[in-house]
């Protein structure tokens, strides 16, 4: 196992390539292999960039069936995006500075689909600690599909982001109406600071006469206390039954006695955050 990768690079690379093989023709595979062998010749960086950009011209953009590879979920991918991810794993890692500079160069001139491919591949890049600022920068994007590549089905942010950046990610996901139940590590990285901010946000929405995403209470549930309990009670009494479901689930995740008392009033056995997500989708 390569020390610079926090996973078995060769194994994942082989696995990705086998998925490419299942979803492409001989011509595409020959081209990719050709590019790979050329990468060992001169002008490696230029070739690496050129191939990364040119990939859709040769692979096309057919959809790939959703699949799981260890620690990573391939969801809603097209062949070009998968091939670009595989291609990223072919970049030599002999020189750390050069590797980072090369990848940053890709980000620096990336079109929308390239950004999606790059941010989606964050968990597979070498020296994972080095991409935290880049990820935080990506979260500042206003391009929906780019945000989704970072936020959804992507284990990198939960594994590496500092709390402030993580909280930005979750808040931005809520602000931009992303399906937050698809954020990897959402419950694991829940924290009081985020819960407090989200409560303030809920109050602002209410003051403006707007609704609040019921999934937001998932992140407040474990931190319910005297201060936040009235909010939960308010949601509990909502006219909207999906909000009542959310309040019940939030209480079920709480250790605060009045919340536990409240939740005893109904059974949560048939409820789950996924059922809430499905109802508001």
């Amino acid at each position: 196992m390569d020390a610079i990768y926090h996973y078995d690079r060769n194994k994942i690379s082989t696995l990705l390539y086998s998925i490419i093989q299942q979803n492409s023709n001989q011509q595409v595979q020959e081209w990719l292999q050709q590019q790979k062998s050329k990468l060992e010749e001169s002008n490696a960086t230029q070739r690496f960039y050129g191939t990364f950009t040119a990939i859709p011209r040769f692979t096309g953009k057919n959809s790939i069936p959703d699949t799981t590879i260890p620690g990573f979920f391939i969801h809603g991918y097209t062949l070009d995006r998968l091939a670009r991810m595989w291609w990223l794993l072919q970049l030599p890692t002999e020189n750390k500075d050069q590797y980072i500079q090369t990848i940053e160069g890709l980000f620096g001139a990336a079109d929308m689909n390239e950004q999606i491919a790059l941010y989606g591949a964050l968990p597979l890049l070498a020296w994972p600690e080095e991409w935290k600022l880049r990820t935080a920068e990506g979260i500042r994007s206003n391009i929906g599909p780019v945000l989704e590549a970072i936020m959804l089905h992507n284990p990198y942010p939960a594994a590496y982001l500092e709390e402030a950046a993580w909280n930005q990610l979750v808040m931005k996901a809520i602000f931009t109406d992303k399906p937050i139940h698809l954020i990897t590590g959402l419950d694991k990285r829940a924290n009081r600071k985020l819960a407090d901010t989200l409560r303030d946000y809920a109050h602002e929405r209410w003051a403006a006469g707007r609704t609040v995403n019921p999934l937001l209470w998932r992140l407040i549930g474990p931190f319910i206390d005297e201060g936040s309990f009235p909010d939960i009670v308010r949601v509990w009494h909502s006219e909207n039954s999906v909000e009542r479901d959310a309040a019940a689930l939030a209480c079920a995740a709480s250790t605060y006695a009045p919340a536990q008392q409240l939740v005893k009033e109904i059974s949560t056995t048939t409820l789950s955050w996924d059922s809430v997500a499905a109802r508001i989708a």
Partner: protein, 328 residues
């Protein structure tokens, strides 16, 4: 219903009062092969989508004041293949671009050199359908130098060229642009000569180039004149665009001109060629235009942005009611 936006069907309905020209072109689709959306608002995108504009090309151009460093060029090119493309998709409009160093800024030679160095990074990107807009402004030696260099780049990349012809000394500038393109071995079929008028069109067509006309109030073509041009020259290798930008211009120039042509009795097939098909034929030589994307851009954005919400059809942005003084 989901989350922050409480939208109803009503938010998505077009305005009930349609200008007369929209009635005339109902159901038609348009392609505007030259429009600088960077300088336009979301209201324009909305109006363009309502008028049937399915796809556009945004050529690289002069932003109204000179850039002073290479990074602002880089960011501009990045925005054309990134943010602006996404912004268009939110209105269900497919956005393409042509990349190049414009003629005005070719005169800042030090900067021009630096731009030439980064152009190869962008010309192979998805959705880059040509090198453009390039050509002459003042017709200086520096302009000629970088025009030639970019013709070579276009040849190497196998991309069409979108030529900006000068406002001043137009006829000679247009001739010279074509002469140089031929001298560099470009096939005239790969070259779109833009901003034509009654004085230039004959020669451009005779020499086998594509002739584009910019319908732009007061300074370029008016659309009544355009109707006459089509009556005289037909629809082969002729296309129209708005070149709408930061000046007084009209992002609906293509659909409005189509309506006027229709009113003037021009054949529907000719209108289709001049306002849609010819531009696609010319720029699809880049291998970067797939017409099925015109529909897909609506579907894809809808699912990504709105999580498949059934209320939001057609990838449209929530509508702002222009006639109401209430802002929700």
């Amino acid at each position: 219903m989901c989350c922050s936006h409480e939208l109803t069907e009503k938010n998505l309905q077009p305005l009930t009062v349609n200008p007369a020209f929209l009635e005339r072109i109902k159901g038609m689709r348009f392609f505007d092969p030259h429009i600088h959306m960077t300088s336009r608002t979301t209201d324009d995108y909305q109006a363009m989508a309502d008028a049937g504009i399915a796809a556009i090309i945004e050529p690289s151009f002069w932003l109204g004041q000179p850039r002073t460093g290479i990074d602002t060029f880089r960011d501009y090119f990045n925005s054309l293949i990134g943010w602006e493309r996404f912004r268009a998709s939110q209105f269900g409009i497919k956005h393409y671009t042509t990349i190049g160093l414009n003629s005005k800024e070719a005169n800042n030679e030090k900067l021009a050199e630096a731009v030439m160095e980064i152009l190869p990074l962008f010309v192979y990107k998805e959705g880059v359908v040509g090198i453009g807009e390039i050509g002459f402004d003042d017709q200086t030696p520096a302009e000629e130098k970088y025009y030639r260099a970019q013709l070579e780049l276009a040849k190497e990349a196998g991309l069409p060229v979108q030529i900006h012809t000068p406002h001043r000394d137009k006829k000679k500038g247009t001739q010279r642009s074509m002469d140089i393109a031929i001298e560099h071995g470009l096939d005239p079929r790969m070259v779109i000569v833009d901003h034509n008028n009654e004085e230039t069109v004959q020669e451009v067509l005779d020499r086998g180039f594509w002739a584009a006309f910019t319908i732009y109030p007061f300074t370029k073509m008016g659309n009544e004149r355009m109707v006459e041009v089509v009556k005289q020259y037909g629809s082969e290798r002729i296309m129209i665009n708005s070149a709408a930008d930061w000046g007084i211009s009209d992002p609906l120039a293509v659909p409005k001109t189509a309506a006027l042509m229709h009113e003037s009795g021009i054949d529907l097939n000719d209108i289709h060629l001049v306002t849609f098909r010819n531009a696609i034929s010319a720029f699809a030589q880049s291998g970067q235009i797939n017409e099925s994307d015109f529909e897909a851009v609506k579907e894809i954005d809808q699912s990504l942005k709105f999580n498949g919400s059934t209320v939001l059809r057609g990838g449209q942005q929530p509508r702002r009611d222009n006639l109401s003084n209430i802002i929700k």
